[in-house]
């Protein structure tokens, strides 16, 4: 189902595999892990490793307010942009475009962007 080279159209999961305020970590080859979130019925994706320490954000908590809270020291990011919101996080995450096609969720790994 997943062509390893298909970085622009990388399969994540079925649309219904995630409930709201849930997320899933993916480990694409040759790049650090990414986390895909579902909030308010929409999907978002960012790098999975916190910029403050070596924490996996997929083990944190995401809220209706589009904020992911890191499980280690409670720093937060905006999942829509990757922007760091609360201390101790200061450096942004990269965020990635996500599309839903025919009930399947895909992330474009080639278009990861950190906010300016």
């Amino acid at each position: 189902m997943n062509d390893a080279n298909d970085r622009k159209h990388f399969y994540v999961c079925k649309e219904d595999d995630l409930a709201d305020n849930e997320m899933v970590r993916i480990d694409p080859p040759d790049q650090p892990p990414v986390v895909v979130y579902k909030v308010g019925g929409n999907f978002f994706a960012t790098d999975n490793t916190c910029t403050h320490g070596e924490a996996s954000l997929a083990e944190g908590e995401v809220d209706d307010d589009f904020i992911i809270e890191c499980p280690f020291h409670g720093g937060t990011f905006d999942i829509r942009t990757g922007e760091a919101v609360d201390f101790p996080c200061v450096l942004p995450l990269k965020s990635y475009p996500v599309t839903v096609e025919g009930g399947c969720v895909y992330v474009n790994l080639d278009e990861g962007k950190a906010p300016a």
Binding site: I67, H73, D86, P88, V90, L91
Partner: protein, 339 residues
């Protein structure tokens, strides 16, 4: 004496009479409570109070956002236990102190003007007890009458003579730095609590060293550079030392570096100023120090062990540059923002 339990870890410790916060009580007991600045600025020491009562003298510390306050998050470096507590907080062996912090009253043995607003203060520990710390670490200083604490980084090396040396910049209108400058004379007393901090010299690393200091960030960078040149095990390492001030009057540290053995061959000192309009006679580099480092070392950056200290915006801009433009892995970047 309140006992503090960390939920779900089996870790527990006491906060003694003389201890002024939960964080330093836990670190002094040897536990790896997460922290960086000890000063209410970074937010790494956030915790959730599950049971018991605390004293929170600075509930508006800058590290707490409106969201933290709404969720009941507190800072362990700014809260003291009033009763036994159960708290939820991250602990990790990487935060556990290598040298256990200690609290003692020290005597000012000398002071010397370095620039128009930086003074070197040397304190003597009682009975010349070993000054045990790692180059790059800091201590909390408090006046015996309770003013403080504030974090200050040691500029010297650990020693067996009990000497703790600090380069301190007077902050205009600053309470504690102002009092140190105006009131403390040789023979005066200060409470030292330390060492703390993770931006210490990694002597085991084979990489060359990049020190980047802004303003009073010179203090720990001097200690790092001294540590590299005085450690026979680090003989092969070169030190690239970048120091940014506002004007040439702020630049210092070169005299102290020059007297180190191997300075000529191993230290590359790059001063720069950010306000050239004030000093038309200056012919050296101008601009923000992180931009100068990027221009000069650009694609080489990932081969360095990087040490940074100075004002938070400078440390943040430099860390961002090292990670995003320089592709330096996080584990090679060691920083202390001076909140």
């Amino acid at each position: 004496m309140p006992t503090i339990k960390i939920e779900g870890t089996g870790e527990q410790f006491e906060q003694t009479e003389s201890q002024d916060c939960i964080l330093r009580a836990g670190l002094t007991a040897g536990y790896g409570l997460a922290y960086e600045c000890n000063s209410g600025g970074c937010g790494t020491c956030k915790f959730q109070l599950i049971e018991g009562e605390i004293e929170e003298p600075w509930p508006t510390a800058p590290a707490l956002s409106a969201r933290d306050i709404k969720k009941g998050r507190k800072l362990a470096c700014q809260c003291k236990a009033k009763t036994d507590l159960v708290i939820k907080m991250r602990t990790d062996p990487e935060y556990a102190p290598i040298n256990l912090p200690a609290r003692f009253e020290a005597t000012l043995s000398s002071r010397r003007d370095v620039t128009s607003d930086i003074v070197e203060f040397c304190f003597q520990a009682p009975d010349s007890a070993d000054a045990k710390f790692l180059p790059g670490q800091y201590a909390m200083l408090t006046f015996p009458d309770g003013r403080g604490p504030r974090a200050y980084s040691m500029s010297n090396l650990p020693n067996g003579d009990g000497v703790w040396e600090f380069w301190i910049r007077r902050k205009p209108g600053g309470e504690v730095s102002g009092a140190l400058f105006d009131e403390l004379r040789v023979g005066g007393r200060i409470v030292v609590d330390g060492p703390y901090g993770h931006a210490y010299l990694r002597a085991e690393s084979e990489r060359d060293i990049l020190c980047i200091a802004g303003g009073s960030g010179i203090s720990p960078m001097l200690s790092i550079a001294r540590g590299v040149l005085m450690d026979p095990d680090m003989e092969g390492r070169q030190v690239h030392f970048y120091f940014g001030g506002r004007t040439p009057d702020d630049l210092c540290g070169l005299d102290e570096l020059k007297v180190l053995p191997g300075f000529q061959e191993r230290v590359h000192y790059h001063p720069a100023i950010s306000m050239p309009e004030e000093s038309p006679e200056w012919t050296g580099d101008t601009g923000f120090i992180h931009e100068i480092v990027e221009n000069q070392l650009g694609n080489e950056l990932s081969r360095f062990e990087c040490y940074l200290a100075g004002p938070p915006p400078m440390v943040q801009a430099t860390t961002k540059m090292l990670q995003l433009q320089g592709n330096v892995p996080t584990g090679q970047i060691h920083y202390d923002p001076f909140y």
